[in-house]
């Protein structure tokens, strides 16, 4: 639980994004059912729930990853602030959306290129090729991902030679380099050992001052440790959403309580 200070009134908290009556279909199969959920600015929101509950599907709506595969369909909208853009709008280019919201995946997936080129890639796709700019941005991003001290002397080495935890921090640096407004984490520590997991969680704590974070996690302790808000999902429905300590210690819904206390799931 992020803070012990009195909780601000939700109505006054600025939102970074908000899902409104969001439905999502894989072909004929409905994976998300009428989800409405705010994502507060520069806060960490955790999505929890058993496998198949739709939490990753929901996350991947935000950067339009579903557009990459045929047969997927969205209904409803995700408003993105401050410009009140509907991320799912038919007239909104998914590439533009992906430039504003960066994603970190379940398994570290560095490109088989150098550490430098991995971090610089987001800038390269935007047409930034000036060496001095890239060098500065790469350093800044690696520092932001708490990886700079470990790799500063070997930026030209292959990224695959890093350890799993370092690779995941590299992927976070890669996501940070182009200064996204929101970071989407899809179970970022599920392939990592406890020590590497702790370092990623520490990093999430540091990042939330600068960027809004939405994180899917299988690990309830992790949700409790890193998030300000928690949403519990089950079979495509949003069951409960609120401040993380409320959801964990004073769940309003019996289903949430059963899942959190381990009686179910």
């Amino acid at each position: 639980m992020a803070s012990k200070a009195p909780k601000p009134d939700l109505a006054t908290l600025p939102k970074k994004a908000e899902a409104r009556a969001l439905n999502f279909f894989y072909g004929a199969k409905q994976a998300l059912k009428n989800i409405s959920l705010p994502v507060y600015d520069r806060r960490v929101t955790a999505l929890i729930g058993p496998s198949g509950c739709g939490k990753s599907t929901f996350l991947r709506c935000f950067n339009r990853m579903h557009d990459l595969y045929p047969g997927n369909r969205y209904e409803g909208e995700i408003r993105f602030f401050p410009d009140d853009l509907n991320l799912l709008g038919a007239d909104v280019d998914p590439i533009e959306v992906r430039m504003r919201l960066a994603m970190v995946f379940q398994k570290p997936n560095p490109f088989p290129k150098s550490i430098f080129e991995n971090v610089a890639y987001g800038l390269r796709v935007r047409g930034v090729n000036q060496r001095s700019v890239l060098v500065d941005k790469v350093e800044e991003a690696l520092k932001g991902a708490a990886l700079w001290n470990e790799v500063k002397d070997r930026l030209d080495e292959q990224a695959n030679n890093l350890s799993g935890g370092q690779q995941q921090r590299l992927c976070i640096a890669r996501a940070l380099a182009s200064e996204p407004e929101m970071l989407l984490f899809d179970e970022p520590t599920s392939a990592l050992d406890p020590i590497a997991t702790a370092s990623i969680e520490e990093l999430i704590h540091q990042l939330k001052d600068k960027v809004t974070i939405l994180i899917v996690t299988h690990n309830m302790q992790q949700a409790a440790r890193v998030s300000d808000f928690t949403a519990y999902m089950y079979l495509g429905d949003l069951i409960e959403f609120g401040w993380t300590d409320d959801v964990f210690f004073r769940p309003k819904n019996k289903q949430t309580e059963d899942y959190i206390t381990g009686r179910f799931g």
Binding site: N63, M65, L68, P70, I95, E96, R98, M99, A102, M103, F105, K107, N109, P110, F111, P112, Y121, G122, R124, V125, R126, Q158, N160, C171, R174, A175, S178
Partner: protein, 311 residues
């Protein structure tokens, strides 16, 4: 045995394991036998060729044109012809094949038309090469008026190996993991940026291997180039591609008549004199070495380029 379950029959289990291990051994022996037959056949052919032909291998053999006197006959026109035809073949098959493979894997919608095209490409790989020769005779030689030229041969063999290049390109592309693609897309890459920066470089070892396998098939093809009317006796080389006068490059060599290694070999084999048979063996040896060298190049390239590819 202390601690063993009462209903576990150890003797029976051991008998089953022993019986299964015998089957394992039997298959290993069978496999080794099959491999030995293949390998022994190749070694026998190769040794026979070396015995018959190695006496003829000399620098004159490579620098002389064909001749009525077997001891003066050489393979100059043939190896130069094969080389220039291979250059044209690669120039045709690589861009067309790689572009087709990328389109089918990354761009084409998954519908019936695409499925039909895919089936046809796989079938094309099995069409007898003489059919390509007949197609080329009708289309390139007569309709387009290209004659029995280096260009015609290159286009024909290019078509012939196109399915090989397309299929190996697609397989190489499919080996690039989806999570690498998603990583690139998630950073805002367009499809072409993703292909150009990731898919193409990471699948290059596989694509090159396919290209070289295709070329090493084309290098030995005889039927299609006989069909288009390649000459069997030729005493000049195609004009040089570089000239002394401006514009310094010439493409006349593309329209030049030519002969090729397999045609030269076939021609010598059909002569009654044993001396010509020896020439044929020597030329065949050269052709086999050319093919092996290409395969060695493929293996080396694959090894070099794959060193940094891990996911």
């Amino acid at each position: 045995m202390p601690g063993a379950a009462a209903n576990f029959d150890l003797a029976a289990a051991r008998a089953t394991i022993a019986a299964q291990k015998k089957r394992d051994l039997a298959f290993a022996a069978l496999g080794l036998g099959a491999l030995s037959v293949c390998f022994a056949t190749f070694v026998a052919l190769f040794v026979d060729m070396v015995i018959d032909g190695s006496g003829r291998l000399s620098s004159d053999f490579f620098s002389n044109f064909a001749s009525r006197r077997p001891e003066q006959a050489g393979i100059l026109a043939a190896w130069v012809g094969t080389l220039v035809v291979m250059v044209v073949t690669a120039a045709v098959a690589v861009p067309v094949g790689v572009a087709s493979g990328i389109y089918l894997e990354e761009y084409a919608p998954r519908n019936k038309l695409t499925a039909l095209i895919e089936i046809n490409i796989n079938n094309l790989a099995g069409v007898p090469s003489i059919v390509y020769g007949l197609l080329a005779l009708g289309m390139f030689v007569h309709t387009f008026g290209l004659g029995a030229s280096v260009l015609t041969a290159g286009l024909t063999l290019g078509l012939l190996i196109l399915p090989i290049v397309i299929v190996s390109t697609r397989e190489a592309i499919r080996a690039v993991p989806g999570m690498i693609r998603e990583a690139a897309y998630a950073l805002g890459a367009t499809r072409w940026q993703m292909v150009r920066h990731h898919v193409l470089p990471y699948s290059m070892p596989g694509i090159l291997t396919g290209v070289i396998i295709g070329l090493s098939r084309a290098i030995g093809e005889t039927a299609p180039i006989v069909t288009i009317g390649a000459v069997t006796f030729i005493a000049f080389l195609p004009p040089a591609p570089v000239t002394a006068a401006a514009p310094f490059v010439s493409f006349e060599w593309l329209m030049s008549p030519f002969t090729a290694m397999p045609i030269q070999i076939f021609n010598w084999t059909s002569r009654p004199e044993t001396a010509f048979q020896q020439n044929a063996s020597a030329a065949a040896l050269v052709l086999v070495v050319m093919t092996l060298a290409m395969n060695a190049l493929a293996i080396w390239l694959r090894f070099r380029l794959r060193r940094n590819l891990k996911w």
